[in-house]
C-alpha cells in the first residue's frame, strides 16, 4: 500500500520521477540480457504490475502468456511460455531484462521489447496505422516495467 502511494506520488510529480529514470537508450544490459539496476530507483508495485500484465491497453502479457494467478482474466494466450513460477526461474535482474527487451536474452524471440524507443521498421502512431506524429515512447514506462518485474517475481511454484 505504501509503495502504491509512492508510485502515485511519482506519477503526479512527473518531473521529479523522470529525473531518476533511466532513459531507454541508456539502459545497461549485462552479457546475458539482464538489467542490474532498477530503471527508476523506486521499488516496483506488484499489484499494479498484475494490472499491467492483464490489461489489453498496457502490457497485455496474457495475450501470449498464461498466468494462473490472473485466471479471472479471460483468454490467456499460448504463444509464449507459461509465467507460473517465473519468479523461481528468473532473478529480478533477468526479469527486468526480459520485460525491457527480451531479444537480448533470447535472440530473435517473437516477444516485443517494452522499454525501447528506436530501431523499429515503420513504427506507427500506436494502433492507428498512421505514421508517428510525435517522438516514440516505449510501450511501458520505466515504473511500469518495475511494477511488472515486481509482479513476476511473486510468481513462485507452490
Amino acid at each position: 500500500m505504501k509503495l502504491r502511494q509512492l508510485t502515485l506520488v511519482c506519477v503526479m510529480t512527473g518531473g521529479a520521477a523522470l529525473a531518476a529514470e533511466t532513459d531507454p537508450r541508456d539502459v545497461k544490459y549485462d552479457d546475458y540480457g539482464g538489467i542490474e539496476a532498477s530503471l527508476t530507483g523506486i521499488a516496483g508495485d506488484a499489484a499494479n504490475g498484475a494490472i499491467i500484465v492483464g490489461d489489453k491497453s498496457k502490457g497485455n502479457c496474457v495475450a501470449c502468456h498464461e498466468v494462473t494467478a490472473l485466471a479471472e482474466i479471460p483468454f490467456h494466450g499460448e504463444v509464449g511460455p507459461m509465467l507460473d513460477g517465473a519468479g523461481d526461474r528468473w532473478s529480478e535482474v533477468e526479469l527486468r531484462g526480459l520485460v525491457a527487451n527480451a531479444k537480448l536474452t533470447f535472440d530473435g524471440t517473437v516477444m516485443p521489447a517494452f522499454y525501447k524507443d528506436e530501431g523499429y521498421i515503420r513504427p506507427g502512431d500506436a494502433y492507428t496505422g498512421k505514421a508517428p506524429i510525435a517522438p516514440l515512447t516505449p510501450i511501458l514506462t520505466a515504473q511500469e516495467i518495475e511494477d511488472v518485474v515486481a509482479f513476476l517475481a511473486t510468481l513462485k511454484e507452490e
Partner: protein, 281 residues
C-alpha cells in the same frame, strides 16, 4: 522452434484456461456436394510449412457452419448484389460487365491464378485492378473504392466461379521479382511490436493469441465475410489491419507493396481450394 516447443508444452498444461491448439479435423463440403481441399501438402516454395490449412479449420463450429451452405452464408447477399451490378449499365460508354463478358461463368479459373503480371504493362495486377480497368477504360465509369461493398462483391462473384479449384499462382518468370518482394515483407518485423507475418502465421499457427486462434494466414477464402465487420473484407484490408496491429505505419490498400504481399501470401496456399466467399470470425 524452441518457442514453439515451449508453447506446445504450455498448451498441454493450459487446458483449463485455453482452447485446444491446432486446426480441427472437420471436413469442408459446401452445399453437401462440393468437396473442398482445405488441407494439403505445402508447395515446395512454402519452405517452413509441411502441411497447409485453410483458415476455416481454426474457426469455431458455429462460424464454420455458416460457410457450409450458400443459403446460410451471409456473404451471398453481397455476391447477389454484384450479380445484378454485373448486368447493370454504368458510365459514359453505356456498357455493363455483361456487355463484353456475357456470363460471369466465363471467369472460371481466373481467380485461382491471381495475382498475375499483366503482359502488356509488366506490372503485377490483382482482381481489383482488372475490374477498375474495365470500369474506367471500357465502361468510362468511375473506379470503385478498393474495399467498397460493390468492389468486393464483384471480386467475390468472379472468385466464386473458381470455387473448389486449386489455387495455382505463378511465382516464376515475370512474377519472380514481385514474389521476392512479397516474401521479404512477409518476414519483416514491422512496427513497435516488431512482428512479421511469419511470427504469428508461420511460427505460431494453431496457438491462441488472447482470444484469437492463429491460422496460417491463408487468403484462399478472400474476399471473406468477417462476422465482426459484417461485410466482405478485401485481402488488402486484412493486411492493413494486421500491420496496424503491430503498432506500425501500415501500407495503403491498393499499394504496390500489398500487391506483392498478396502474390506471395496467395502462393503459399497453392493447392488449397478457392473458397471465396468464406466466412470468418
Amino acid at each position: 522452434m524452441n518457442t514453439k516447443a515451449l508453447a506446445v508444452i504450455s498448451a498441454v498444461l493450459a487446458l483449463p484456461i485455453t482452447a485446444e491448439a491446432g486446426p480441427d479435423e472437420d471436413k469442408l463440403v459446401i452445399n453437401d456436394e462440393l468437396n473442398m481441399t482445405s488441407v494439403t501438402d505445402a508447395p515446395a516454395h512454402t519452405e517452413n510449412l509441411d502441411t497447409i490449412y485453410s483458415g476455416w479449420h481454426f474457426r469455431t463450429d458455429e462460424t464454420q457452419a455458416l460457410q457450409l451452405d450458400d443459403f446460410d452464408n451471409p456473404a451471398m447477399i453481397f455476391v447477389d448484389q454484384a450479380a445484378d451490378l454485373f448486368a447493370t449499365v454504368d458510365g459514359a460508354a453505356g456498357e455493363s460487365c455483361a456487355s463484353c463478358h456475357e456470363d460471369v461463368e466465363s471467369f472460371q479459373g481466373l481467380h485461382a491464378s491471381m495475382p498475375k503480371v499483366d503482359a502488356e504493362s509488366g506490372k503485377l495486377v490483382v482482381m481489383e485492378d482488372l475490374i477498375n480497368k474495365c470500369r474506367t477504360d471500357r465502361m468510362e465509369a468511375e473506379a470503385w473504392k478498393w474495399s467498397g461493398a460493390d468492389m468486393q462483391g464483384m471480386v467475390a462473384l468472379i472468385g466464386l466461379q473458381s470455387r473448389g479449384m486449386p489455387m495455382n499462382i505463378a511465382i516464376d518468370g515475370d512474377a519472380a521479382p514481385y514474389w521476392e518482394q512479397g516474401k521479404e515483407m512477409y518476414y519483416t518485423r514491422y512496427g513497435q511490436l516488431e512482428l512479421s507475418c511469419a511470427n504469428c502465421h508461420e511460427d505460431n499457427w494453431g496457438n491462441m493469441i488472447r482470444a484469437d486462434h492463429l491460422s496460417q494466414g491463408m487468403i484462399n477464402g478472400f474476399p471473406t465475410y468477417r462476422l465482426k465487420q459484417a461485410k466482405l473484407i478485401s485481402r488488402h484490408n486484412r493486411f492493413r489491419g494486421c500491420i496496424r496491429d503491430t503498432r506500425a505505419e501500415t501500407f495503403a490498400e491498393g499499394s504496390d507493396e500489398f500487391r506483392a504481399l498478396e502474390l506471395y501470401v496467395a502462393s503459399r496456399g497453392n493447392g488449397l481450394s478457392v473458397e471465396t466467399p468464406a466466412v470468418r470470425q
